[in-house]
Amino acid sequence: MKYVDEFRDGELAQSIAAALRRAADSARHYAFMEFCGGHTHAISRYGIADLLPPTVRMIHGPGCPVCVLPIGRIDLAIRLALEHKVTVLSYGDCLRVPASGGQSMQKARAQGADIRMVYSAADALALAQREPQHEVVFFAIGFETTTPPTAVVLSAARQLKLDNFSVLCNHVLTPAAMQAILDGSPATATPRLDGFIGPAHVSTIIGSRPYERFAHHYGKPVVIAGFEPLDVMQAILMLVRQVNDGRAEVENEFTRAVSATGNLKAQRLVDSVFELRPGFEWRGLGAIPDSALAIRADFAPWDAERKYALHYMAVPDHKGCACGAILRGEQAPTDCKLFATACTPHTPVGSCMVSSEGACAAHYNYGRFRDAVPA
């Protein structure tokens, strides 16, 4: 495949790996967080850990839209379907996310809830138009990448005066979560983060500027990278060089798609439909101020939370689950006592095990052959 294979070239990967071995100072350790699940997936899928020097450690961040959804938000969707008898449309991954009381959307379906999988926000809108006899709610999740399509369907629904369609908005913001990770980690936490691989698709929308405060105020280098394995390796090399030079800058490895200012048209559209939510709970990270979006009052008739007077109730995560510490990089998946015992991709307990982009699921699916054989 042209434009893809060249970013997966084995020889080029070996030459970047060699450059990394030369650049990495064997007397110190490097700990970088790839924020995005897309990067986590690439690292695991291509076995990139095998190509890194032993002193470079990658920490899987919380940038997986399904993983950070708190239990209480899934509960809202299930309640809508079971009690309000509405048709709930969701991306497929959400169906398996554990909710409270042993529920999940998939299990609710088996109890008669009309919950269906869609592939896009546009599909959700089309379905509402096709089935005017049903009240349809689109369960919108995701970071800045999936927000503009939700804004498009909300604008269209208002224009069409489509009264059987609304959106349960769970859109969240990347920079707020990065800041929460930096602010929230106890000073004693190990390992200390030395820098971030910045998101690929998210950055095409928001640009590279929103990351500058992490470089300037927190002294953490950020390298924005594409989702291909060679992008990731090149970004790690750039991070190692910044750390070696004592630099903390926002660098852009993904210049083929990301600019400093991002997609201004998409940003304007998002601004016209959404506003900052004062607080939003993230699974594993807790409540983070100004970290999510709510639908503006102009669009109230299409806001499921207003339309059905939904009240969010926080539900604590499972006690034994280490997702919070894993998402902050303080623990590895294998440090959690539930990992691969009570918690597997088939029976996920915590958020990191749900989507294949989650840190625990990625290690379980792709990397657990490295773990010691249990006695």
Partner: protein, 350 residues
Amino acid sequence: MKAAPYRPLDLTHGRIDLTHGAGGRASAQLITGLFAAAFKNDYLDQGDDGAVLPAPAPGEALVFATDAHVVAPLFFPGGDIGSLAVHGTLNDLAMMGARPLYLSASFILEEGLALADLARIVASMATASRAAGVPIVTGDTKVVEQGKGDGLFISTAGLGARPVGRSPSGRGAQAGDAILVSGALGDHGLALLTARGELGLASTLTSDSVALHGLVEALFNAIPAAAVHVLRDPTRGGLATTLNEIAHQSGVGMQLIETAIPVNPQVAAACELLGLDPLYLANEGKLIAIVPAAQAAAALAALRAHPLGQRAAQIGAVTTDPRHFVQLRTPLGGQRLLDWLNGDPLPRIC
């Protein structure tokens, strides 16, 4: 089956109604006018409750397999539920090392199904069965009320004869064996996904649905029968899931080379776009053969010489591993697990 027709079957505009399953004249009419006519063979023509079949040759073992088919959409590029129902059971027999001999077919029809669609599907089954040289010798039809079936469900069963000396089994893989596949993976799964029209993706991709017993015979003709340790068709769950099943059954591990695994460029590109992995997509016309390393070259040559195995390849080897992991060497030179499928393959969100 000899009841005189009391009304002509309207194969253009007619639809299945409950009388077609009531066992009366309408049922007989459907059976003689459609099924018996299309599948016509000496056994079926007897019109009895079952087919009386000759005993297999001395020393041969009987192999019996069954397969239920539910598929959406009923028609897809490269096949339909009918041809799939024939190929599915034929391939189950072939993977046991058997020469398929006879098929049965049971139909559960939903009230309202267009007779034209049913006729197309039945014709396609007849074509598939004739092409394979395996007659459908007995069958049954039931009709369920509208809303209680998805158009139609087909269940087929097959009898085959396995010659002496053949014993392929999921339990047969041994450390050091070579793992072969007969061609490119993921075609059927992706053809079906795109045919559902939900992805907004058009492609010229067709399902690989085909009967594999000819290819299997070519393999058995090329190497000693006992050397075919494992034969399996990687249907649901794809290559990855099937290899994990074999690794568990045989108590072994596997090491694969990702760049050696054949995938059509169109499938690779579409999977890329959708965030799917072709190694987890269903196939209906490919086989996995596990043979001793010393027989790998001969086996591969035999597969490649057959029209259905031109892109056959050795994709890896069986290893000793108490945890029965299937591992993959990535194009970058890294190592990873190729695990069982968890849930359904889902397109990525972001």
